[in-house]
């Protein structure tokens, strides 16, 4: 058998290898080749996505740091900034769900505290195959436990997220973790290495062979039986060490000795050193023999690309090295002075006296190849039809459909997940998980932030542009319902193999939709992460862009929850009864087996107006509860208003419309919010809506212990709220304990 060409062994193409030879003016040695292989992988270089990501709107009044650093930062007033970012750990979680998810959380936490920010919240957006299958249960159980393990021990509250179950994620689950941190705006630290002669320290855990040829390669190719072979590379997270690393890094930041910090993620020392040097236009010379090791006999290239967790590269002002050592000693952590900043832009790696690699730093980090991959509109899109209730043969009794939807794992209570997460530590969580968005108070300022993640692969599959826009709209609506003004987003773009033109088309088109919605809703993109190659044996996941949203509450007193508060209040529907189109809805999936049909339209102007109305009403103190209509449509949203609070509150609702009852109740048209308000304020609220050009109507009243819904004067739902609640609460525990 012929030996593989050298470039293939590190996952590069022949052309890419040629480019390396041109850059170096010679053949790379093994260390250099390994370094290039990782840095020019899709995962590290964004070679496919870079040119398209550039088109996203990234600036705005509140934006202190956009894309390009470890995390984005928004200004939340009083001298405070909120740093936030989302990242995927899909493939590691497919191989080892517990550790894969745990180290995913560890990675995103480091991205936040490298900025000098203390992590104050985490969220997680998850996708699995069906929960009634062994693999679905195994991955779900392992991933949730892994997130809990890392976040709880570290001491960050995991306050929100989402979980969906769809066939397309059966082999390739999605595990996207978001972290949010708080930093003084004048203390933001960046991943820079300025100042010739300054010291480069490697701090934190010791270096082992973890993840060598693992994470980044896994993330840059499809899953198949060959990837099984890469199992020994699995990394184990150590949240305790990470917690010490956090405290030490923040203490170091306070000392003022720090020039810059960069976490070690994919491609370890190679990426962190070349990125720091690249951003500052300098060089770095380092000696791998000075790196504290966990294992014996490691080669220089192994040290350079190891993905051992819980490590940071720190640039420190020359002359202040001892301060660093003292701080890390206090926290029982290593701090090894491994190199210095140089003036010539070269990344030089020595092993003692021996030079083992010499590469222009920028060539590794910024000058990676960039591809404009071909796109082709997928044929399935042309086959999608418009389906309305009238197209469905026989109407199920809406009541039965409601019960079945409430028991569907995509809609049922996620308490079984979030009760495993410590969501209260740090005592800032003012709205706990279980409402549209989590709300955190900002201690001492009277303000707060609202956080949500949203994404809907099914909608994006059916209409990449609008599906991605709907994810932004829904995330914004969720924070608005909680009393916050949407401020900015981070995104995690989970797609299939971009070398397939149809996937590439989905990607490019989804970005257009995301960009438009971000502009319309005034939520610039501050960063994110791209995860390609989410395919198994040639089948791709649904294109799944996930949006992480940060909103700001002017006053923490504006915080609003989704559940009805008491009897006799008016229930108002903002945004109208939706669309007859059922494409993408849980209802269509339920009655027909799949939801493949044209989506209801999204009107971004209406969306913005609905959100403005809701927020204005909340700020005036008129709103007792606000809940957005999403999965399962109006009927499910109403039921959730009745039973998600500390006490059950019934409602009687009267809808009228041209559509059939099931269409009115279960369509998932966007831009709609259910608001409850004291009865005497209803008229004011309606006229406020009118001023904003938003359709609004009183659809019922809270009260009794039943949810009763009449459509065009016919009673279609009438059930005790307690029964609905039980079905909704028990569905996931029931499925997982089977």
């Amino acid at each position: 058998m012929a030996e593989k060409p050298v470039w293939e062994r590190v996952g590069l193409t022949q052309e890419e290898y040629g480019k390396i030879v041109t850059i170096l003016g010679r053949e790379p040695n093994q260390v250099e080749l390994e370094m290039f292989g990782l840095m020019w992988s899709e995962h590290c270089s964004y070679k496919t996505s870079r040119r398209h990501l550039k088109k996203l709107p990234t600036t705005g009044q509140r934006i202190l740091q956009g894309p390009g650093e470890n995390a984005g930062v928004v200004d939340v007033g009083d001298g405070w900034g909120v740093a936030f970012k989302i990242e995927s750990h899909n493939h590691p979680s497919a191989v080892e769900p517990f550790q894969g998810a745990a180290t995913g959380v560890g990675g995103i936490l480091r991205d936040i505290f490298t900025m000098g920010a203390r992590p104050i919240a985490a969220l997680d957006s998850l996708r699995f195959g069906p929960l009634n299958e062994a693999r679905g249960k195994f991955l779900f159980g392992g991933v949730v436990a892994g997130i809990a393990h890392y976040g709880n021990c570290f001491g960050v509250p995991t306050v929100g997220g989402e979980v969906y179950f769809e066939d397309c994620y059966r082999e390739n689950p999605l595990v996207n973790a978001m972290c949010v941190g708080l930093v003084r705006t004048d203390r933001i630290i960046r991943g820079r290495a300025d100042g010739i002669g300054n010291a480069i320290f490697l701090v934190g855990a010791r270096t082992g062979r973890d993840g060598i040829h693992g994470a980044s390669l896994l993330a840059s190719q499809e899953l198949n039986s060959a990837t099984e072979e890469q199992r020994p590379a699995v990394q184990v997270g150590d949240p305790f060490t990470e917690k010490l690393l956090l405290e030490a890094c923040l203490e170091l930041a306070d000392s003022g000795a720090v020039i810059g910090i960069q976490d070690l993620g994919a491609a370890g020392l190679t990426s962190s050193s070349s990125e720091m040097a690249g951003r500052s236009g300098v060089g770095i010379e380092l000696d791998v023999s000075l790196v504290p090791r966990r294992e014996e006999g490691m080669e220089p290239w192994e040290v350079m690309i190891s993905e051992s967790q819980e490590r940071m590269l720190v640039c420190v002002a020359a002359g202040r090295e001892d301060e660093v050592r003292e701080i890390f000693e206090k926290w029982d952590l290593n701090a090894a002075l491994i190199g210095r900043v140089t003036g010539d832009g070269m990344l030089r790696v020595k092993d003692g006296d021996r030079m083992v690699a010499e590469i222009p730093a920028a060539a590794l980090a910024q000058e990676a190849p960039s591809y404009d991959r071909p796109t082709r509109r997928p044929a399935y899109l042309d086959e999608l039809k418009e389906i309305t209730a009238a197209d469905l043969p026989d109407q199920r009794p809406p009541e039965e459909a409601l019960l079945r939807l409430l028991a569907h794992p995509n809609i049922a209570s996620k308490e079984a997940v979030y009760r495993q997460y410590d969501h209260m530590v740090q005592t800032n969580t003012a709205v706990l998980p279980g409402s549209d968005a989590a709300v955190l108070r900002l201690r001492g300022s009277g303000r707060g932030i609202a956080l949500a993640t949203d994404g809907n692969g099914r909608l994006t599959y059916l209409d990449p542009k609008q599906g991605a826009a709907m994810a932004v709209a829904e995330a914004a609506r969720n924070v608005v319902c909680s009393g916050a003004e949407p401020a900015a987003i981070t995104n995690c773009l989970n797609f299939g193999n971009p070398e397939k033109p149809e996937i590439m088309w989905q990607f490019v088109t989804a970005l257009e939709g995301m960009g438009e919605a971000s502009l319309a809703l005034n939520t610039p993109v501050t960063g994110g992460n791209v995860s390609f190659y989410n395919d198994t044996d040639g089948r791709s996941i649904y294109p799944t862009p996930v949006i992480g949203m940060v909103g700001v509450l002017e006053s923490i007193d504006h915080r609003t929850t989704q559940w009805f508060k008491g009897e006799g209040e008016a229930i108002i529907l903002l945004g109208g009864t939706g669309s007859p189109r059922l494409g993408g809805s849980q209802y269509l999936a339920l009655v027909r087996g799949d939801a493949h049909a044209a989506l209801p339209p999204l009107d971004l102007e209406l969306e913005a107006a609905v959100q403005r109305t809701c927020l204005a009403a909340i700020r005036r103190g008129w709103v007792s509860s606000a809940h957005d209509c999403s999965d399962g449509g109006l009927a499910v949203a109403l039921a959730e208003c009745c039973f998600t609070g500390p006490r059950l509150v019934g409602a009687s609702v009267e809808l009228t419309g041209d559509d059939r009852a099931d269409g009115l109740l279960f369509n998932e048209a966007p831009s709609r919010i259910i608001v409850s308000t004291p009865a005497d304020l209803a008229d004011q609220l309606l006229s406020l809506a009118r001023e904003h050009g938003v359709p609004a109507q009183v659809i019922g009243r809270t009260g009794s212990d039943r949810l009763s819904v009449r459509v065009n004067h016919r009673c279609v739902i009438d059930r005790p709220v307690a029964e609905l609640a039980r079905i909704w609460r028990e569905a996931i525990p029931c499925l997982t304990s089977e």
Binding site: G155, P239, A430
Partner: protein, 235 residues
């Protein structure tokens, strides 16, 4: 009146207790690093929650060897108040200041949610501001809160009123369904025989402010305050 809060590597509820005492109770409080060898001038020492040393091996097992823990023991011996919350409770068990041991939750999962507790003994320095039998809502957040003691020890605890909090339902009934972790007798918190050392799994500091959704936990801190004001042992 002064509170001291011992901070271990891996503590993560230290700041929460700090704010509950400083802002909720409006009393002075200091952080004390676990390597501190001499701890003087504190009236109540608190061991906060978290994952000291990652909770590796057994929760609280490694922390008990910190120099500050000898001072905590000395303070307790002299009659000073010691409050261990969650991981702090686990440490008190490991160091033998309280009897029994913790096992993993019977669900084998970490659990974080509000629980109802019945105040079984409202005469301790930590509970005197509650009514006897009062039902309070205080959240838990732990993976190893499944309290165990052998029968003889349990009988002693009961006999001397050392069981201070039990998990119950909203109506105050001590039933298996209200037990979040499998603890024997639904036990959520106990004191030592002298009553000056309390260990509890639930987190009173998480519900000491209205914005957090509840203030039932404030009673623990107010009790300590009133006990100290009325002449309880000062350090």
């Amino acid at each position: 009146m002064k509170f001291g809060l011992i901070v271990f590597p891996g503590s993560n509820c230290d700041a929460d207790v700090y704010y509950a005492v400083r802002d909720g109770l409006e009393q002075p409080v200091d952080y004390i690093w676990h390597k501190t060898e001499r701890i003087e001038g504190y009236d109540c020492l608190i061991l906060p929650g978290g994952f000291s040393y990652g909770d590796y091996l057994r929760a609280g097992a490694i922390a008990r060897f910190s120099p500050a823990m000898q001072e905590v023991a000395r303070h307790a011996q002299r009659g000073g108040l010691v409050l261990g919350i969650c991981n702090g409770f686990q440490m008190l068990l490991e160091m033998g200041l309280l009897p029994g041991a913790m096992r993993r939750n019977d669900s084998l999962q970490f659990r974080c949610h509000y629980t109802y507790l019945v105040v079984e003994n409202a005469e301790t320095p930590f509970t005197r501001e509650y009514q006897p039998g009062q039902v309070v809502a205080i959240p838990i957040a732990h993976g190893e809160g499944n309290y165990y003691a052998d029968e003889a020890t349990l009988a002693e605890l009961e006999q001397h009123g050392q069981v201070v909090f039990r998990y119950c339902n909203e109506a105050g009934e001590i039933v298996p369904g209200a037990n979040p972790n499998g603890s024997v007798g639904n036990i959520a918190g106990i004191t030592n025989r002298a009553g000056n050392v309390l260990g509890m799994m639930p987190h009173p500091e998480r519900c000491a402010e209205a914005v957090l959704g509840g203030t039932d936990g404030l009673g623990v801190f107010r009790s300590i305050e009133s006990w100290l004001k009325e002449g309880g042992y000062h350090g």
